[in-house]
C-alpha cells in the first residue's frame, strides 16, 4: 500500500497496462520526454522507450485519427488530449469516427482506444482551458465515458478502459492531480459502468463526479454535524455505461436526489439521471430532484469569480438543507 497522488496514479495505471500488453502504445503532445504538461506521465518514456511513448505535433486531429487507425488494426492506443477543451478541435473523431465505425460497418471495425484528457476548473485558466466537457461525450452513442475522483479509481478505471474493446474517453480532473490517496500494491483493475457509494446515508442521495465528489463529501459532513442530515454520496464514476441501479437503489432508500455537476447547466449529465429517476422511481421521491451545477455561462479566469460559480461544499450543503426544509 502506498500513498499516491492522482497525477502519479495516471502514470502508474498506464505503466501497469503497458507492462502487461505490448500492443498498448501512448501518444500525445509533450507526453514523452517532457512527462506531460501536468506531469502525469513522468517516467513512461524512460521505461517504455520512444516506440511506445511518442510525442506528437500540436495536431489533435492527427493524434485521435492515428489512435483510431492503430486501434482498428490491432494496437490499443492511449491518446492524450492535453486540455479537454481541445476536444472541440478534434470532435469529428469523438463524435463521428470512433463511436460509429463499428455500427456503420456492421460490426467489422474495432476501435479499442482510450483518450485521456485534463478536464475541469480550479486552475484559473479561463473559459477555454477550464471546462468540464464530459457531457459533450456522454451524448454520443458508441462511446464510453469515465471520470475518476481519486487515485485508486484512476489506476483501476484506466486499466479497465485500456482493456475495454470500445473507445473510452477518460476525464482526469486537473484540480485533483495533486490530491493523494491510498493505492494498494500490485495489479489493480476496476469495472467500467459501476458507481460507488462513497458515503452511506439515509436522508438524501447526492450524485457527484470527479472534483465534485470530495466537495459533496465535505458538504455531507457539514450537513451531518451542523444539521443532522445524513446524506448518501454516490460517486458516479462512469457516465457511459451508467450505473443506474446503484443510483435508483440509493434513491429508493433516501427518497431524495441531488446531483452536483461541474458542467454548465444545460444538458449536463445530472439532467439524464434526474430524468431516469423521475421516470422509473417517481414514487420513491419525497421531493423534487435538485441539480446543483455551474450556471450556464462561460468560465471566468479570476479566482474570485471562478469560485463563485463552481458548486462548492457550502452551496451544496445549503441547497440540500433548504430543500429538505431543515
Amino acid at each position: 500500500m502506498a500513498e499516491l497522488t492522482y497525477r502519479d496514479a495516471v502514470a502508474r495505471g498506464i505503466a501497469q497496462e503497458m507492462k502487461r500488453d505490448k500492443d498498448v502504445v501512448f501518444l500525445g503532445e509533450d507526453i514523452a520526454k517532457a512527462g506531460g504538461v501536468f506531469k502525469a506521465t513522468v517516467g513512461l518514456y524512460e521505461q517504455f522507450g520512444p516506440l511506445r511513448v511518442r510525442d506528437t505535433p500540436i495536431s489533435e486531429q492527427a493524434i485521435l485519427g492515428a489512435a483510431m487507425g492503430a486501434a482498428m488494426t490491432g494496437l490499443k492506443p492511449i491518446a492524450e488530449i492535453m486540455f479537454s477543451d481541445f476536444i472541440a478541435v478534434c470532435f469529428d473523431y469523438i463524435a463521428n469516427e470512433f463511436p460509429k465505425s463499428r455500427y456503420m460497418s456492421n460490426g467489422q471495425t474495432k476501435c479499442p482506444l482510450v483518450v485521456r484528457t485534463g478536464n475541469g476548473a480550479g486552475s484559473r485558466f479561463g473559459a477555454q482551458h477550464s471546462q468540464s466537457v464530459e457531457n459533450w461525450c456522454m451524448m454520443i452513442p458508441g462511446l464510453k465515458v469515465v471520470a475518476p475522483s481519486n487515485p485508486l479509481d484512476v489506476v483501476g478505471l484506466l486499466a479497465a478502459a485500456v482493456r475495454d474493446p470500445d473507445p473510452v474517453i477518460f476525464f482526469e480532473h486537473k484540480s485533483l492531480y495533486p490530491t493523494k490517496g491510498e493505492v494498494p500494491d500490485g495489479e489493480i483493475v476496476d469495472t467500467l459502468g459501476t458507481a460507488k457509494i462513497v458515503q452511506p446515508g439515509k436522508d438524501a442521495t447526492i450524485c457527484a463526479l470527479a472534483l465534485m465528489v470530495p466537495r459533496a463529501l465535505e458538504a455531507a459532513e457539514k450537513l451531518k454535524t451542523e444539521h443532522g442530515i445524513d446524506c448518501e454520496v454516490v460517486d458516479v464514476r462512469s457516465l457511459v455505461p451508467l450505473d443506474t441501479q446503484t443510483i435508483l437503489g440509493s434513491v429508493a432508500k433516501t427518497n431524495r436526489l441531488f446531483t452536483v455537476e461541474e458542467n454548465p447547466r444545460l444538458c449536463g449529465w445530472g439532467a439524464e439521471i434526474v430524468s431516469i429517476v423521475a421516470d422509473e422511481a417517481f414514487y420513491d421521491l419525497d421531493g423534487p430532484p435538485v441539480r446543483i451545477t455551474t450556471p450556464h455561462i462561460p468560465l471566468p479566469a479570476a479566482d474570485i469569480l471562478e469560485d463563485m460559480v463552481l458548486p462548492n461544499a457550502a452551496r451544496i450543503a445549503e441547497t440540500v438543507r433548504r430543500s429538505l426544509g431543515n
Partner: protein, 343 residues
Amino acid sequence: MSKRTAEIRTAAAGPNDDIGEAKRLELYRSQMRIRDAEQRAYDLFLQNLVKGTSHLSLGQEAIAAGFGCAMRPGDLSFCTYRGHAHTLARGVSVEKVLGELMQRDNGLMRGKGGSMHLASEEHGVMGSYAIIGAHLPIACGAAWRAQYRGDKDVSVCFFGDGTTNIGAFHEALNFAVVWKLPVIFVCENNLYMEYTPIGDVTAVPSPAGDRAAAYGLPKIVIDGNDADIVYREAIKALDKARSDGGPSLIECLTYRHSGHSRADPAKYRPEGELEKWKQRDPVKIYRERLKQFGISDRQIAEIDEAVRKEVDQATEACKAAPMPPTDILFTDVYADGGWAWRN
C-alpha cells in the same frame, strides 16, 4: 501532359514492357468492373432502387484500378464517400457493393452504412469516410501499427482535391513525415471540390502537388486517367513505404463524368469540358493501350462480357434480396454486440 506522353512512349516499347500482359488485363478488367458497376448504380438510382446519396467515380476509374492492381493482399485502403471504385478495386464483389447502395440485406454492411461508408476489412478496405479529411490521420495510425510491429503492409489513403483545404490533410501530412510512416496519400484531382472549381478556392495551382514541399515531400502530379502511369507511380510509392522510406503524396489529374453526387446535374461546368475529357476517358485510353500491346479485340470483348455478366447477376441478386431485418438496428453499437448504455 508531357509526362504522360513520355510514359506512353516507354510503355509502347513492346517486349520490354515493364507492366506485362497479365497485369494489363487485370488493370483493364478492374477499370471495366468499376465503370459498369458505377453506370449500373446510376441506372438503379434512376429506377429509385439506389436509396440515399451516391458519389460515382465514372471517369476516375484508372486511379482506383492502378492502385488496386499494385497493392498486395494485406495492404490497406482508406476511401472517401466516393469510394465504390476503391472498394471494388480491392476485389469486393459487385453484388456486395450494389446491395449496400440499394440498402439490402445482401449489402456489405446490410444497409447499416450506405453508399458513403463501404468497408470490407477482409479485403483490406478499412472503411469509406464521409467527413472530408477524417481518414488521412486514420491511415497514419494504421501505418504506425505497421511500423511499430514491423508488418510490411502499406496504408493507401484516397481523397479528392477539396480535401487539401481542410486541416486534417495538413496535420496528417506533417505527422506522417515526422513519424516516417508507410502511408501513401492519393489525391484525385477531378477539378471540382464539389460544385466549385478547385482553382477558385485554392492558393496554388496543384492542390496537393504544390503543398508537398511544405512537408518535405517531392511534388508528384501525374495523369490519373492513364492506368499504366498510376500503376507505376503506385508501385514506386509502395516500394518506398515498404522499405521504410516514409510517406508519399501523389496528385492524380482526372475528371468525373457525372455530378458530385446523385443530386448534381453538374450544370456549373463550362460547355465542351466534359466532351473534351471524354476524349481522355481512362477506359478508352486503356482499350487503345491494350491494342498497342497486341491484345486482340476478342480478348477485350471477353473481359467486357465477363464484367457485364457479373454486374447483371449482381443486379438481379440485389433486386431479389430482402431488405435488412429490423433486429440489426440495435446491434454492434458496442463491442459486446449490443447498444446498452446503462444497467
